[in-house]
C-alpha cells in the first residue's frame, strides 16, 4: 500500500519506515514454544502435514489457470479474414464503375487462370 496516497490507512507510516516486518517477540513465561521444529512434537508434525496437504491441494488449481485463452484465436482469425474478403468484394462492386471511368486509376490485371498441364 502506498503510504503517500493512503496515509491514514497506513497509520501515518512513511515510505522509509515500510520494510520487513519486525520479528515477533519471544514467548514469555513457561509453556511450549509455538514455532518449534516439526520433529520435536506431535502437534508440530500435525501442523506440518496440514500445510503440506493444503499446498498439495492448491497446486493442481494453480496449474489450471493459464489454459483457456489459447483455443479461441484460430476461430477469430478465420472470421476476420472472411469479413475482410466480403468487404473488399463490396467495395470493388461499388467503386468498380468509378475506377473504370477514372483517369488516375488503372484496372489491375487479374492473373489469368493457368491452363491445366497436358496429360500424356
Amino acid at each position: 500500500m502506498n503510504a503517500e496516497i493512503f496515509p491514514a490507512a497506513c497509520g501515518g507510516i512513511s515510505k522509509g519506515k515500510l520494510g520487513r516486518r519486525p520479528a515477533s517477540p519471544a514467548p514469555v513465561g513457561p509453556g511450549k514454544p509455538l514455532g518449534g521444529s516439526p520433529a520435536s512434537s506431535a502437534g508440530g508434525k500435525a501442523a506440518f502435514k496440514c500445510r503440506l496437504l493444503i499446498c498439495a491441494a492448491a497446486l493442481p488449481l494453480a496449474g489450471c489457470v493459464n489454459v483457456k485463452p489459447i483455443e479461441v484465436k484460430p476461430i477469430h482469425v478465420t472470421v476476420d479474414v472472411n469479413v475482410n474478403v466480403k468487404v473488399d468484394k463490396d467495395l470493388d462492386n461499388y467503386f468498380d464503375d468509378l475506377d473504370k471511368k477514372s483517369t488516375t486509376i488503372a484496372p489491375v490485371a487479374k492473373p489469368a487462370a493457368q491452363p491445366a498441364p497436358a496429360t500424356p
Binding site: V87, L91, D92, T104, P107, V108
Partner: protein, 133 residues
C-alpha cells in the same frame, strides 16, 4: 401586392421546391441511397482526377483524398464533398459487417494504392507521401 409579401411568398415557394428536390433523392425512410452518392461522385470525378494528376490532391492511407498543394477553395470544397461521400459508403459497409469505418477505409486505401497510375501522390502506411512510379 406589397413587395414584402411578394418576397415572402417567393421564399416559401423556393423552400418548398428545395424540400421536394431533397425528398426525391431520399428513400422513404429518410436515407440517401447509394446510387445518388455514386452519381455525385461520378460528376466530380473528372475534376478530382485533374487535381490528382496535377499533384494538388493525393490519396491518403485512410481511404480519403487530401489537399497537398495550393488548390484554393475549389479544391478544398471538392475534396470535402468527396470525402463526405466516401465516409458514408465506408460507414455503410462497416455497419453491414459490424466493423469500424476506419478499417473499411484502410482496405479501400490499399486498393487505391495498388490501382493508382504512376505520378499520383499516395500516402504510405507510415504516413509519408510518395509519388507512385
Amino acid at each position: 401586392m406589397k413587395p414584402a409579401r411578394f418576397f415572402r411568398i417567393l421564399l416559401a415557394v423556393g423552400i418548398a421546391f428545395a424540400a421536394v428536390g431533397r425528398a426525391q433523392a431520399q428513400t422513404p425512410d429518410g436515407r440517401i441511397p447509394l446510387s445518388v452518392l455514386r452519381k455525385d461522385q461520378e460528376k466530380r470525378l473528372p475534376a478530382l482526377d485533374a487535381l490528382k494528376a496535377s499533384g494538388v490532391v493525393g490519396e491518403n492511407n485512410q481511404g480519403f483524398v487530401e489537399v497537398r498543394g495550393n488548390g484554393g477553395d475549389y479544391a478544398v470544397n471538392l475534396v470535402a464533398d468527396e470525402n463526405h461521400d466516401r465516409a458514408v459508403v465506408y460507414t455503410l459497409f462497416a455497419c453491414k459487417y459490424d466493423m469500424a469505418p476506419k478499417q473499411v477505409g484502410l482496405r479501400r486505401a490499399r486498393t487505391i494504392a495498388e490501382k493508382s497510375k504512376p505520378g499520383i501522390w499516395l500516402q504510405a502506411p507510415d504516413g509519408t507521401w510518395y509519388q507512385k512510379k
